[in-house]
Amino acid sequence: MSEKVLMKGNEAIAESAIRAGCRFFFGYPITPQTELAAYMAKRMPKEGGTYLQAESEVAAINMVYGAAAAGARVMTSSSSPGVSLKSEGVSYIAGADLPCLIINIERGGPGLGSIQPSQSDYWQATRALGHGDFQMVVYAPSTVQEMANLAYGAFDIADKYRTPVMILGDGMLGQMMEPVALPEPKTDLPEKPWATTGHQGKRAKNIANSLYLDANELEQSNIERFKRYEVIKATEQMSEEVNCDDAEIIVVAFGASSRIARSAVRAAREEGIKAGLFRPITLWPFPVDALEATKSHAKAYLSVEMNMGQMVDDVRLVVRDSAPVEFYGRTGGVIPTPVEVLEKIRQINEGLGE
């Protein structure tokens, strides 16, 4: 790790990705992720890499598809409406079992929405960023340091499981600066014997494709992929717990809203309320095992999000009928305040006394 510097979240992702061996970036500008692409435009040529501003998001994701097929470490970044445009390409990449990194620095939606921070693409990221039977690993950093760390590790996960990986951030995390220590450049990149690099008559040809005219063949391909997903679910769940050990009220929050929830939980503790913060770092796979373990002592859950209530579905799938699961959120680009969340915690706490 190097000396700490001040960087925007957008810039930290970009620098960290380059240090992870990413040498191809294809994108199209959109607020609030623009600094990421701008940083890449400046840095990539100095590393002998390629930065290309495509004619559209659709073009950009298909360039990612091509570079991934050729075995490169490649990424794209966008914000909500731009990510929607990329969804067809992401599905093709998943269908062809290719690794890449996709960044979504979310803004308010639906539609063109607002340019202010939001978390309203949770469902899109964790359920269906494109058609067909596929999922992808989704990371939700909450600090600039974590944005750097997760971007650095994301390429390894993508290569290991041959899957697209997403970092789901938002305008607040992308725009803010915090001190960050950047990782050392990677030199030991994995071999990719499946890559379409030219066989020169020495091996069977490699094909990157997502089209299967034989239904049984496609079924087998999907079944094989979902076996990999089972391994991912068993080994790649990540979460952080703050004051959860004896907590009666567990606030579940990710990314930017977890920072606000953390302040609210601290304030609740100062009032003698046994509150804790459970922060999913992987949104898919959802950290089911760690959350499950809190059910032995938690009396209520509160999902805090910058949307109308999306992750709360996953919390309910884990908690089931063992405790009530409530929701508090602001949407459209409005950022909730710790005071609002604290008030909700107080209300739940009063309910527990009854």
Partner: protein, 177 residues
């Protein structure tokens, strides 16, 4: 140490984001928790620009400051917009070259400084932002003087290194005012 929750507000082009960056670097150098968040969006073009800077000894929750204990206002709309957010006992620094009324609050400390005129008179045009950082440091001692000098050296990009000296002069001008 006292948590510093500072809102720097004014017009786009006055260097408010840069002033915030200098203060953020000072926090980094003294190994404190630091966050810096700009306003972003259409309001930055010719309208108001602002940024939130927090220096703390605790991990920082929201980087968006709703209750600043320090406000630097470099134009009238910013003073009007943020004056009532400042916590009681907080401080408001006003560039009275550009703002023709003082804060109405009586439960905060007010520091009025003709920062823009001072900078121009000293041939430091465009550095009223750093004059105000100097005044902020003088009144709050949020870091050492050596730290803020080092922060300026870090915050000024290498291609503009020739401006470091002028920034240091502007800092001193505000500090001694």
């Amino acid at each position: 140490m006292e948590e510093m929750r500072i809102v720097f507000a004014g017009f786009g082009g006055q260097g408010l984001l840069f002033a915030g960056k200098v203060v953020a670097y000072a926090g980094l150098i003294e190994d404190r928790e630091v966050s810096w968040l700009p306003s972003y969006g259409p309001e930055m073009r010719g309208g108001t620009a602002n940024c939130s800077v927090t220096l703390s000894d605790e991990p920082i929750g929201s980087p968006l400051i709703m209750d600043p204990n320090n406000l630097i206002a470099m134009n009238q709309p910013s003073l009007i917009k943020f004056e009532n957010d400042v916590t009681p006992g907080g401080r408001i620094f006003v560039d009275t070259s550009l703002v023709n009324r003082l804060p109405e609050r009586t439960d905060v400390e007010v520091f009025a400084l003709e920062a823009t005129n001072m900078a121009e008179d000293a041939e430091l045009k465009g550095l009223a932002n750093i004059v105000l950082v100097g005044k902020l440091l003088k009144e709050t001692s949020f870091c050492s003087y050596e730290t803020i000098e080092a922060a300026i050296r870090k915050a000024v990009p290498p291609r503009k290194a020739a401006l470091i000296e002028k920034n240091l002069q502007a800092l001193k001008l505000g500090y001694d005012a």
